[in-house]
């Protein structure tokens, strides 16, 4: 009996020491300790993040979060982070990881740490059916729209500035919904959109007057999971997780399910390794 009491005191003491010395625990320990993985996801970016017909979060990024939580043995908590909220949410540790289709640019990597790419986007030109714009090059001198603060926008603006055509103009809308509405009403002659979303949206029958014209010749838009710059252990674990998702075929499965394509793109650029 005495031994039991002594042992329990020792246990309590050890627990106390552990709780006052958080420096020992890293981000992974914290996630496992609290039993939840909190993911920042953009829910206005279908099919990666959206709300389904019962208005619950769904999409490629949401499923990816759930898989990650399962691999950690914890519950997934999807936190909606609109575009200007993604980084503050991460920095404040209101979310543990950001699975929000963020393109992994060098500029951004000065602020957050990126894993290896977990999905890749291709962009297409979308116009009204009777438009005479047939290819990406035809966009020279036309009015084009996209979403403000996105990577495709930056890619497009590079071409736009090179063309330097006084007749051309560019509008960056608040979100995808606005850009699609704008092209279908003829406010802009074409928009650039992700191929997956465009296919899904046009198949839904909501925009019967729109059509996908051609691919946009942008460099491959690889997107990564982001964690805080200092969370080294989590970054290493997440990298391995992304690799594991591909090895197990889960990546291909999710891609086919949400991006409605049987061609699952490679997550590397030829002649390089990550």
């Amino acid at each position: 009996m005495k031994k039991l009491i002594r042992n329990s005191f020792a246990l309590v003491g050890a627990a106390l020491i552990a709780s006052t010395a958080p420096a020992q625990a890293d981000e992974i320990d914290d996630i496992i300790g609290t039993g939840t993985l909190r993911c920042g996801v953009m829910l206005d970016f279908p099919p990666a993040g959206f709300r389904n017909s019962s208005n619950e979060p769904d999409g490629f990024d949401v499923q990816y979060c759930k898989d990650m939580a399962k691999a950690l043995g914890v519950e997934a908590e999807v936190v909606e982070t609109p575009s200007p909220e993604r980084v503050p949410a991460l920095v404040s540790k209101r979310v543990d990881v950001m699975i929000a289709s963020a393109s992994n640019t060098l500029e951004r990597a000065k602020t957050v740490a990126f894993t290896m790419p977990y999905v890749v986007y291709t962009n297409v030109v979308i116009t009204q059916k009777d438009s005479d714009i047939k290819s990406f090059e035809d966009l020279k001198g036309r009015s084009v729209g996209n979403v403000v603060g996105t990577t495709p926008e930056q890619f497009f603006l590079e071409h736009f500035e090179n063309w330097d055509d006084p007749n051309g103009n560019y509008t960056g809308f608040g979100s995808d919904a606005e850009s699609y509405l704008a092209v279908s009403q003829g406010k802009v002659e074409a928009i650039i959109g992700s191929s997956a979303q465009a296919a899904d949206l046009i198949a839904s029958g909501n925009f019967p007057n729109l059509e996908i014209r051609s691919e946009a010749p942008f460099t491959v838009d690889l997107v990564s999971i982001a964690v805080n710059k200092n969370d080294h252990s989590l970054l290493r674990w997440a990298n391995l997780f992304v690799w594991e998702q591909q090895k197990s075929g889960r990546y291909a499965e999710l891609y086919k399910q949400y991006f409605r394509s049987d061609e699952v793109p490679a997550l590397t650029i030829p002649n390089t390794y990550y």
Binding site: S83, P84, R86, V87, P88, V91, T105, E107, R108, K110, T111, V112, G145, V148, G149, T150, E153, Q154, T171, G172, F173, G174, S175, E178, L181, A182, Q185, G186, K187, N230
Partner: protein, 222 residues
């Protein structure tokens, strides 16, 4: 507490873009006030004729402008008109919607001003042989603007704040330019702090312009 290091260099490089946005913001705030005041005078005068069709239309305008969010008004000016086949630029839509909003609020403000002017003044002016237009422009309105100057100033601050909603429909005003710049480098805090400072300066410029107007045209009285 601050485990975050600030990167200001990134922000300085983008200052020209932000400044361009700031100019659009200032333009819309000022123009929407000028259009708003003109419309508000018409609405307030129309409303004085109680029971007439013009008065009822003015009432509907005022109530809708005052009781629905400005963001909604902007959205409807752009996409709502678009659905009817009327396409205007995002600049025109934001300017028009904020002017519509201003007019509603300003008409209410002016109504109070009109009420403060005694009926004998109208009668006196008419008896001097002035027509209604002259009575309003030389006798009534200068006094109305004098008593309502402060609330009108407050409204011009609201107009400035409302311009930040233009981003949604693709207008590259200061908030839109900030959003564009911050998503490139993810330095959210730094960029929004600089934007806040710029808004502050714009507010001061508008107040300065107003003080100038007051000094030049509304001298005297109280």
């Amino acid at each position: 507490m601050f485990g975050y290091s600030f990167h200001w260099r990134t922000v300085w490089q983008e200052i020209p873009q932000l400044a361009e946005g700031a100019i659009v913001t200032l333009q819309i705030a000022v123009f929407s006030m000028l259009i708003g005041i003109t419309l508000a005078v018409l609405l307030a005068v129309a409303r004085r004729n109680e029971g007439s069709i013009a008065s009822r239309l003015a009432s509907v305008w005022i109530e809708v402008a005052r009781n629905t969010p400005c963001l909604l008004q902007i959205y409807l000016a752009y996409f709502g008109l678009g659905a009817l086949g009327i396409n205007i630029s995002s600049y025109a839509a934001v300017l028009g919607a904020i002017a519509f909003n201003n007019a509603g609020y300003l008409a209410e403000i002016l109504r109070g001003g009109f009420n403060s002017i005694s009926q004998t003044q109208y009668a006196a002016a008419h008896s001097l042989g002035m027509n209604s237009f002259r009575v309003y422009s030389y006798v009534v309105l200068p006094q109305v603007f004098r008593v309502t100057f402060r609330p009108i100033m407050n409204q011009s601050m609201w107009a400035l704040l409302n311009t930040s909603l233009g981003m949604v429909i693709g207008l590259k005003e200061l908030t839109g330019a900030t959003q564009f710049a911050q998503s490139r480098s993810f330095r959210t805090f730094e960029f929004f702090l600089v934007a806040a400072a710029m808004y502050y300066v714009i507010a001061k410029i508008i107040l300065g312009l107003a003080a100038l107007v007051q000094w030049r045209f509304l001298k005297g009285g109280r």
